[in-house]
Symmetry: C2
Subunit: 595 residues, 2 copies
């Protein structure tokens, strides 16, 4: 019942008008040849694939779910395998991969655009190739030459899929206490035993082999996070010629019954002396896994961007179609028994909230995607360093800010439908259920906020935050004399000042009481997230102001959406700043038993 | 897997220490004999019934759902019928009903306490008796003597259940455009035809008969809401002796597949010349139905209060049990591999948000319950009028403020569980799914906010709001010299002033542009809701200050929760006031086509 149309116009706006990616990519030797037109063609083709092949399986996949047939066998919902085969045949898994391993060598940014559309179409399905792309990135950076030559071509082609096996029944956030063991077999391989849970895409029928990246402890490894190593544990051990060899001792024991993402198999994986090979250095497994984890965090942001877009499209269509009550300022559709509900101010609030968050989220994700390409491929070391620092700073916000906003957006989308939003047939409630996991996995949003304030801001004395601040300052300076931009520049300056002040206050308090960091973290992330969105909306407003030719063109709408953002969404910071400032006292006052 | 223990201590605190219900009820002739001890005994018994009989069916009912067997036959999940029989045999349906019709004549307030616990135990199941109680209230007020004598004894005993049939495929909020028709049969009955959708408890196997209250139009009725009449349409037409006669022409055509409340049958009801009898006056059906609707709105608040409590209990238990990471201020459970997650500030924020909203919600619901008893039974007309005015003012907040807060609370409860919160087995995600409908049905929360600002505040020039303000003023005056209360009285005064100012501003703007009312409504309701909670938390804090004997007693915890509320939740108003003030301009700027 829901519909999805790839939002090509807004994608082009972000890629070309906001980010000027053609010029930016020309500075990167490996992408110097790509022009805007090529990117648009790829995106358009990808959009057709997503909306024609992947999207039609979203509701049926939710309804059917995955099936555990016993003895480790899991099947994905009907049609998932065939769609995946088409995906592989069309070469989409290889889009942004290294040509040395069969990749097409396109920018990661372009892959991000593909993933937005895949996730709008079907988040559960997209997790199969999504985790595979994470395994690719991890092995590319940390695998041995032999590991790369055996595994990467199959992963790049999509013939084999990947997983990340971190969580155990007693540890999710706290990987320091994980127990899975790896004993040397004496031939360079290890025998790995333990139980992993919540393994997305852990077992399925989409691909002939599954490459698990597994965290485990070597004998005599130090306790805590410094004693964790990373291993490749293939479902079938590849022979020297790349053909599939013996079935390895890693097996799915059951699958979870979940609130959403029913089409993705969330597996308990039992390892019983499974053969594994060390990736990276002993006891440094978390470092290696963080490549995959950071990619996954950005990926989760893309999941929520995708869901926000498709939920918005459908609630907008409904709001234009459904007639109910008359406008408060007099009938608008006099030929109908009532007005379309889009005339009502609060329906507009719900639609514009979705729209403003979605479009800012798109600008945010693509911008970070571009910086990832710059981090990896820019000839100037300073640009690489600066891009890397900004990506590190922004990653927890991509993950937490976008997923929180999307949970609100999908819920508003549902609400626009009234009672029909609660009915499965209309599809809106699935978006809410699917969106809900994004606030949890790959590090809960609380963990993201602690990562932001602790590791990304306070740990370097605010150096990375200042790099971002310098961009904001430069934009403000650039527009100092521009009267038309005043309505955007003033609140941007204001929120920038407030972030600076709040950061200083939290840093001060944290020196006296470390609990203050934990108390401030979540509201702090929302405040800084709004600084990012204020900056992006101000930049988008500037372009819109320059290009609009009158009411109702694309730019006029962009401008109106920017104004809505500053008037109605940014003021959330007034609350969050107060909540952050209120500190730890009222949180820590009670003993656990007194709750 | 989830657990539920009736929160008797906090219930007693609200009933006896906050509201002093024994004294209050003594002033009402029909309740003058009830003492606190009797109430506590009833509540305790009710709690046993809820937790032992109704609660165990919650997860299984969600998993199984209702079944449509074809030809109008619907069965509720396993065990629902037997539990309902026990409920009827124990006399719970009659608790607060009129003794003239077999009721026990207890205060409505006591029924509210029962319903909190029923809803904590199983919202879907509770909707069967819940709607029945609404039908009781409507017929008691608007039925003829004959209708009362035929229907009420069976409804009061619970042998027959009830429904409200309002919504049609093309109209939910906008009842003015409903199409169902009622043609006189010439014998005092009417032949009613039409299609009703979203009829909760519309068909099921719990009771031998179902009494539908149906809105339809008489021939030549005026268009719009002034041409709607209300009819009793029984599933089986009762014979003169009260036995069941012919099967009536109202039949379930199908049931909906929904996000939650799976155990309650949401029915399409087809009326094909079904026999109905007019309730109240012709064309005044909406007035009569509003008795049931207002009851239902309070009932939805009680549903969300119940869900918030049970979600809190379970996330609290999990937070004490689950160990993960060390406290930021040093290990707390040195004998364990990690600390219980309740040591972490943000986990406490999530728990305390649930706790503060739940306990304020309880105070709010019981207080309004008491005022309903005063409205109906106080000998002094002024008290009846004042109580009625306050109930009218507060009803949209009971509905919208509590259901919004509970959606946040149940989501926080889920989040405390991390990945496990997303797994059905743990039960937390069901609470989120069930809670979601409460923001929609019986008038969406947008409709509630329009009711508050439009009908309840602006329509009488703020008279009802001033009545509430007078209570707040009196409490402030009473505590003027109390230094210990300053920390609560100051923010209470502040939010009171802000509500006064904001109300005036919206009223001013509304005179120039009616869209301003719609633009302000939703944030306005949140601001006034927080005024109510500030008042209730200040009152509860006062009692706690007077009674606490030291750290960790019940009152110390109450005080700490009050402080948390003022420090961390009330500041949301800083956002909502800004959002309300931002007005209609940015909402109405775009043409529908330009979105």
């Amino acid at each position: 019942m829901p519909q999805y149309t790839p939002p090509l116009r807004d994608m082009q706006f972000v890629l070309h008008e906001l980010l000027d990616v053609e010029t930016q990519l020309k500075a990167l030797p490996q992408h110097a040849e790509i022009d805007a037109e090529t990117i648009d063609q790829i995106v358009e083709e990808a959009g057709k694939f997503c909306s024609n092949v992947v999207f039609p399986l979203n509701q049926s996949g939710d309804e059917e779910g995955c099936t555990y047939a016993g003895d480790g066998v899991v099947t994905a919902p009907k049609g998932f395998k065939e769609a995946y085969q088409q995906y592989v045949e069309a070469g989409w898994p290889a889009l942004s991969c290294d040509p040395d391993f069969g990749g097409q060598g396109l920018p990661e940014l372009v892959n991000n655009v593909l993933y937005e559309m895949l996730n709008s179409s079907n988040q559960a399905w997209t997790m199969y190739p999504g985790l595979t792309h994470g395994a690719y990135a991890c092995l590319l950076e940390h695998g041995t030459d032999e590991q790369k030559s055996v595994y990467l071509p199959k992963i790049v082609s999509g013939e084999w899929t990947g997983t990340m096996c971190l969580t155990e029944p007693h540890c999710g956030t706290d990987l320091g206490i994980l127990r899975s063991k790896a004993e040397p077999n004496g031939d360079g391989s290890y025998a790995i035993s333990g139980t992993k849970i919540f393994i997305s895409s852990g077992e399925h029928d989409l691909a002939e082999n599954i490459v698990h990246l597994v965290l485990a402890r070597l004998p005599d490894a130090p306790a805590g996070t410094k004693g964790i190593s990373l291993f490749i544990v293939p479902k079938f051990v590849p022979n020297a010629d790349g053909s599939l060899g013996e079935r390895n001792g890693i097996k799915c024991g059951s699958i979870e019954h979940k609130m959403g993402i029913h089409g993705n198999a969330t597996c308990v994986m039992n390892l019983d002396g499974a053969k594994g090979w060390l990736v990276g250095e002993p006891n440094k497994g978390l470092n290696a896994m963080f490549v995959m984890m950071n990619g996954a965090r950005l990926g989760v942001g893309m999941q929520s961007l995708g869901l926000a877009e498709v939920a918005y499209q459908n609630s907008l269509a409904y709001a234009k179609d459904r007639v109910q009550m008359r406008s408060l300022s007099g009938p608008k559709a006099k030929d109908k028994p009532a007005d379309p509900i889009i005339v009502h101010p609060d329906v507009r609030r719900m639609l514009l909230t979705q729209k403003a968050y979605t479009e800012a989220g798109r600008a945010f994700c693509y911008w970070v995607g571009l910086m990832i390409d710059q981090e990896h491929g820019h000839p100037d070391e300073k640009v690489r360093k600066d891009s890397g620092d900004l990506v590190a700073l922004l990653t927890p916000m991509i993950k937490a800010f976008i997923t929180d906003n999307t949970f609100e957006s999908t819920n508003l989308g549902l609400q626009v439908f009234g009672g029909h939003g609660y009915i499965k047939e209309w599809g809106m409630e699935q978006y809410v259920r699917d969106a809900r996991i994004n606030m949890i996995y790959e590090g809960t949003n609380t963990i993201q906020s602690l990562d932001l304030i602790g590791r990304k801001v306070l740990a370097d004395g605010g150096a990375k935050l200042k790099k971002f601040g310098a961009l904001v300052q430069a934009f403000i300076a650039e527009n100092a004399g521009n009267d038309e931009m005043k309505e955007f520049i003033e609140p941007l300056m204001d929120i920038g000042d407030k972030v600076t002040k709040l950061t200083g206050e939290v840093a001060q308090k944290a020196m006296k009481n470390p609990e203050e960091v934990g108390a401030a973290a979540v509201p702090y992330l929302r405040v800084v997230g709004h600084l990012v969105y204020s900056y992006l909306w101000a930049r988008m407003a500037k372009i819109a102001l320059e290009k609009t030719t009158g009411a109702n063109d694309f730019y006029a709408t962009k401008l109106a959406t920017a104004r809505f953002y500053f008037a109605k969404l940014l003021p959330e910071t007034a609350y969050q700043i107060r909540a952050a400032r209120a500190g730890a006292d009222t949180l820590m006052a009670l003993d656990a038993e007194a709750f």
